[in-house]
């Protein structure tokens, strides 16, 4: 395509693409995100295209691979337009039937529909699915609709309109004022006001002469994948937000720092940057305005600490990802000593929405202090694993039970961990608290990047705390002593407790050490590392006491505190457990009751998993 020379050229191109975009035309949209791909969506896509070719239908039907619409649990997902019939859990073998019955015959295939968990009814249309119904999708709005590899799709739905508006009718000061007025807060976790951060950076850029903008896509929180999904499914929104930010702050160079563990997101982002350059949304003289901005991609190399802004900057500069003390903040001295603004993926992607709809409309959603929507990745022991975008202020109960569909296998909800290794858990008694930055902090958790992991009665909260401490201890960069040694000391204590060697005083030690680490660590990783331990201690002290005083793991998880045995009345002597045991701990003859030698048993749980008669007892 030809590079756009002016905003009016953009407008006529946009208008022609918008006119050609027709949601009433038959079209099949299939999720081509990482989650559905892992479940085989590409095979489904290929065989659908093949079957459609073979069928010689009267009207041509396009098959589009889109970004992730969020309902990962039921992937591979497919939506048939214009009706928006939603089919789920597809395999390539379903393709001929879909073409014959639905695309050619116009009838719905019941077995491919979503079944409501409560009523058992089949739900035909995507907008009627309980998972989507209560969401308010702004940032994720284009995921599932546009092909992330086609800039035309993004533009047809109004993409880059905000950029054209900014470049033709707003001064940098007005852009900053608008973002400030919207109340947008950093979606990376700390929740600092984005507009204020921009203003500080702008002032420093004016003195220093230049600076940088950076997009933090180093989503290291295990269990969170919304940043990946936004970059993967709608990369142009991030690019547009960054160009607007660069214009507002007067900088001409930007970086996206993204995890190497997200290959598809990197691929789609690189493609999008090339397209935006070709179209004239990046590079010199953007839309004829004279404004210039170049964007590069930098890959993270698998270090959680690089999500911390000063470590991230060190990594972009080619050094190891060690944080440094702040101040000076990056807004004053960042990349190569120049003023640098860093925002999270979701913050950048929200910027075009703020500009296009106006600050007032944006601020109309959410609570008094937390504006707009938040994306959560709801994972773990939950029926509807996926990405959920909801207004700030929604209750945890709505999120987990109404949208998330509750806990699988009739188990009891125990806690939700919000904010990953830096966050804390929220127990059942606080399920009705409205979620915003302040309420989560007061409960001992943090908003973080929006990772929400659900634990049920089968999860041991001491083991949960030990898991996070193992994580942060491994990911500690080692620069400052409190984090390097402190996390190790806390982990050793937790490991002892889990192994059944807990002592009186361990809890006090954890509390004291946690407090020291929080107060004296250099960066956010260390300062928040004790949070999962402290919050489980706050709400699940009884579980710690059971481990330490009674030498008992109530959820039967911690290996040092459980034993496996066989119930003689139930055992049929089928020998399945015996054959599967790798430590030769099971003995017995065919047809006779087996037994487990506790001295040889490694408590791996295989015997329980393979037993068809529920004859293995854990206590």
């Amino acid at each position: 395509m030809n590079r756009l020379q002016s905003a009016s050229e953009y407008q006529s191109w946009q208008a022609s693409l918008a006119a050609a975009w027709d949601d009433t035309k038959p079209c099949v949209r299939i999720c081509d995100g990482t989650g559905c791909r892992a479940l085989g969506s590409q095979k489904v896509l290929a065989s659908l295209r093949e079957e459609i070719d073979k069928a010689h239908l009267d009207t041509p039907i396009e098959v589009v691979g889109t970004g992730c619409p969020g309902f990962c649990e039921c992937g591979p997902l497919l939506t048939i337009y214009p009706q928006r019939i939603s089919y789920q859990r597809l395999t390539a073998a379903d393709a001929p039937e879909i073409v014959r019955q639905t695309l050619a015959g116009g009838s719905v295939i019941e077995r491919l529909l979503y079944t409501d968990l409560q009523t058992g009814e089949h739900i035909r249309l995507e907008p009627d699915l309980p998972f989507y119904k209560r969401q308010r999708r702004q940032v994720l709005n284009f995921n599932g609709r546009v092909d992330p590899r086609r800039i035309e799709d993004y533009v047809a739905l109004g993409g880059y309109k905000a950029l054209a508006k900014v470049l033709t009718s707003m001064t940098p000061g007005q852009v900053i004022a608008e973002v400030k007025a919207s109340g947008l807060r950093g979606r990376g976790g700390a929740g600092f006001l984005t507009g204020v951060k921009w203003e500080l950076c702008r002032q420093n850029v004016e003195t220093a002469g230049s600076g940088f903008v950076v997009c933090n896509a180093d989503e290291g929180d295990p269990g969170a994948f919304m940043d990946r999904s936004v970059v993967e499914g709608n990369p142009h929104a991030v690019i547009e937000g960054m160009v607007i930010g660069a214009y507002a702050m007067g900088v001409h160079k930007g970086f996206v720092y993204i995890r190497t563990e997200y290959p598809l997101a990197v691929e789609n982002l690189r493609k999008a940057i090339c397209q935006a350059e070709a179209a004239g949304f990046l590079g010199t003289d953007i839309l004829g305005s004279g404004f210039e901005f170049a964007l590069s991609v930098r890959l993270g190399a698998g270090a959680f600490v690089c999500g911390e802004e000063t470590a991230l900057l060190a990594s972009i500069e080619g050094r190891i990802g060690e944080p440094r003390p702040r101040p000076p903040y990056p807004a004053a001295s960042g990349l190569w000593g120049m003023p640098t603004n860093i925002n999270n993926v979701k913050s950048w992607a929200a910027v075009p929405i703020v500009i296009e709809r106006g600050a007032e409309a944006y601020a109309g959603v959410g609570t008094s202090t937390s504006k707009g929507t938040m994306i959560f990745s709801v994972v773990g022991k939950i029926n509807n694993t996926g990405l959920v975008e909801v207004p700030m202020g929604i209750s945890l109960r709505e999120l987990i039970f109404d949208i998330g569909g509750g806990i699988p296998n009739g188990r009891e909800f125990k806690a939700a961990q919000i904010g990953g290794p830096s966050g804390g858990c929220i127990p059942a008694e606080h399920l009705d608290v409205p979620i915003d930055y302040e309420s989560l902090t007061s409960l001992g958790a943090i908003m973080g990047s929006g990772g929400l992991v659900v634990a049920d009665e089968d999860n041991c909260m001491v083991d949960f705390a030990r898991y996070f401490m193992t994580f942060t201890q491994q990911e500690s960069c080692g620069k400052c002593v409190p984090c390097r040694i402190g996390t190790k000391a806390m982990l050793a204590t937790l490991e002892r407790i889990c192994a059944g060697q807990g002592q009186t005083g361990d809890v006090d030690y954890l509390l004291e050490m946690g407090d020291h680490i929080k107060r004296s660590s250099l960066c956010g990783l260390g300062q928040t590392a004790p949070n999962p331990v402290l919050s489980t201690l706050r709400y699940f002290r009884d579980e710690y006491d059971a481990h330490i005083l009674d030498k008992r793991c109530p959820s039967k998880v911690c290996k040092g505190l459980i034993t496996y045995s066989i119930i003689p009345e139930t055992c049929t002597g089928c020998m399945v457990c015996l054959r599967n045991c790798t430590s030769n701990a099971v003995s017995g003859l065919k047809g006779e009751v087996h037994s487990i030698d506790a001295a040889l048993c490694t408590r791996c749980g295989v015997c329980k998993n393979v037993c068809k008669f529920d004859a293995v007892l854990v206590c």
Partner: protein, 158 residues
């Protein structure tokens, strides 16, 4: 294995002409050879004008880099939180027992490398094991056995 110095030089040259990023060059070499041969560090440090000590510190700091050659097949167990609560420790346990190696190690016959990763972000599938780039979801100890069996069978046929 013969170290293809020319190819490594090409990768580093390309990076030097572009962004000149040490991490970028090492990432590409790691991706191609699945480890960083000592020669790569020396060449990168010379060409990109970075002290060798810095190249070494970068290569040992980041999880994505390895200084040891990897096995023919790579098995990666996701240890993200969602996978953890759904039983990834048992899955890893089983792989370690069956392969006779710990996470991070390569089997003596250089066939298998067992690794862990912090989160793949495909949490609906947890616990996940990735074998040579192919995802297997909702893993159990039984499925691990079946997976290993089919890999070993394929190996025996070669």
């Amino acid at each position: 294995m013969q170290i293809p110095i020319n190819e490594i030089n090409q990768i580093i040259n390309r990076e030097a002409m572009g962004d000149g990023s040490l991490i970028g060059a090492l990432e590409e070499i790691q991706e191609r050879y699945r480890y960083l041969p000592p020669e790569a560090l020396i060449l990168a440090s010379e060409r990109l004008g970075v002290p060798l000590s810095q190249a070494y510190s970068v290569a040992t700091f980041y999880n994505a880099f390895s200084l040891k050659p990897k096995g023919k097949h790579c098995l990666t167990v996701c240890m993200g939180t969602a996978c953890h609560v759904r039983g990834s420790p048992q899955v890893l346990d089983r792989l370690e027992t069956k392969l006779g190696i710990h996470a991070g190690e390569t089997s003596p016959n250089h066939l298998f490398t067992l690794e862990t990763i912090n989160c793949l972000g495909a949490c609906a599938l947890g616990p996940i094991v990735v074998t040579d780039g192919e995802y297997s979801g909702q893993m159990t100890t039984r499925k691990v056995d079946a997976l290993l069996k089919s890999m070993m069978r394929a190996e025996a046929e070669i």
